[in-house]
């Protein structure tokens, strides 16, 4: 069994999952891809939305259905993803 992910790794995994899906993903898919519970994902999403790293967009698929919610990574979020990679490299290199 792998060790528990740190907060930094969780945020990285969430943003990476969105980027790997072309920058937009359904919340349920994100939950599976990032391997997080519904409650935990929501709390992280709230924080990421607050920091403007992701945003929620509503998408009308069929006229009579309720719109689908999509999680979209922002430009700032993409910038942060690059920064996170550097931070992770720093963390690994210094054995933190």
């Amino acid at each position: 069994m792998g060790s528990r992910r740190s907060r930094l790794e969780l945020i990285f995994d969430i943003l990476l999952a969105i980027q790997n899906k072309g920058g937009r993903i359904k919340p349920t898919h994100l939950m599976y891809k990032s391997n997080l519970s519904h409650k935990l994902l929501n709390s992280y999403l709230e924080e990421l939305i607050g920091k403007e790293l992701v945003l929620i967009q509503e998408e009308q698929v069929k006229k009579k259905q309720a719109p689908n919610k999509m999680v979209v990574i922002t430009e700032k979020g993409l910038g942060f993803l690059a920064e996170f990679r550097r931070m992770r490299e720093f963390t690994d290199a210094f054995g933190l």
Binding site: E83, R86, F90, F94, G95, L96
Partner: protein, 230 residues
């Protein structure tokens, strides 16, 4: 007590100023990671390098006062109201400066040793905090004793750095990361510098060797840091 060689006067200040800047750079980046992750290990790592940089800064200031008459006269003018007209407290302040330089450097190496052990949540555990408290006490004690003989300071620093190098060697075996091996080499060079300083009383020429090795260590740290964040 200053061990420097006449021909080396001033060069060591430049070397230590470079070390100060490198340590500050790593402390600042670690603090940035802490602000994003809110994980205490990054805060402690930042503090560790801040302590190392503080020590180097104190060394630069005190050595400047010894080497340069202008700086000495300026320090004298500023300190006279505190030391008294006969400067009867000057020795006390001189020793306090040395104490701060030694305690912060040993404290910095000690923190790096604890953090590089790669155990999650280690700093939250009570028994490890009590272990740290014991080590901090020993560092303060050695810093006080080393005011009478600086060899103890360099020897303790060398022991702590040996443990840090050993931790990075183990980390390198675990992750095979090239950057980790470079950091290990950087600390190894600083360790060799400290080992050279241990024998200063018998071979004064080792001061230059120790300074060059220490500078090489900090430059290796800087090179690795630049590779990571580029």
């Amino acid at each position: 007590m200053v061990f420097t060689l006449d021909w080396f006067n001033g060069l060591d200040l430049v070397f230590e100023a470079i070390g100060f800047l490198v340590a500050m750079l790593i402390a600042a980046y670690s603090w940035r990671v802490y602000q994003v992750s809110m994980e205490s290990r990054f805060k402690y790592f930042s503090l560790a390098f801040l302590l190392v940089s503080l020590s180097l800064l104190i060394k630069v200031i005190t050595s400047s006062a010894v080497y340069f008459t202008e700086v000495r006269l300026l320090a004298d003018a500023i300190a006279r109201p505190v030391f008294g007209p006969e400067r009867q407290f000057s020795l006390l302040f001189y020793n306090a400066g040395f104490f701060l330089e030694m305690a912060s450097l040993l404290g910095g190496w000690l923190l790096i040793f604890f953090i590089s052990q790669r155990s999650r949540g280690r700093l939250r555990k009570y028994y490890e905090l009590s272990q740290m408290a014991l080590f901090v006490y020993l560092v303060l004690l050695i810093s006080w004793i080393a005011n009478f003989n600086k060899t103890w300071f360099y020897l303790t620093g060398a022991v702590l750095l040996s443990l840090v190098v050993l931790n990075y060697y183990k980390n390198y075996l675990n992750n095979g990361n090239k950057n980790t091996s470079q950091i290990m080499v950087a600390f190894l060079l600083v360790l060799l510098g400290h080992l050279a300083f241990v024998f200063l009383e018998w071979v004064p020429g080792l001061y230059a060797v120790g300074q060059v090795l220490q500078l090489a260590g900090f430059i290796t740290l800087l090179y690795t840091y630049m590779r990571i964040i580029r």
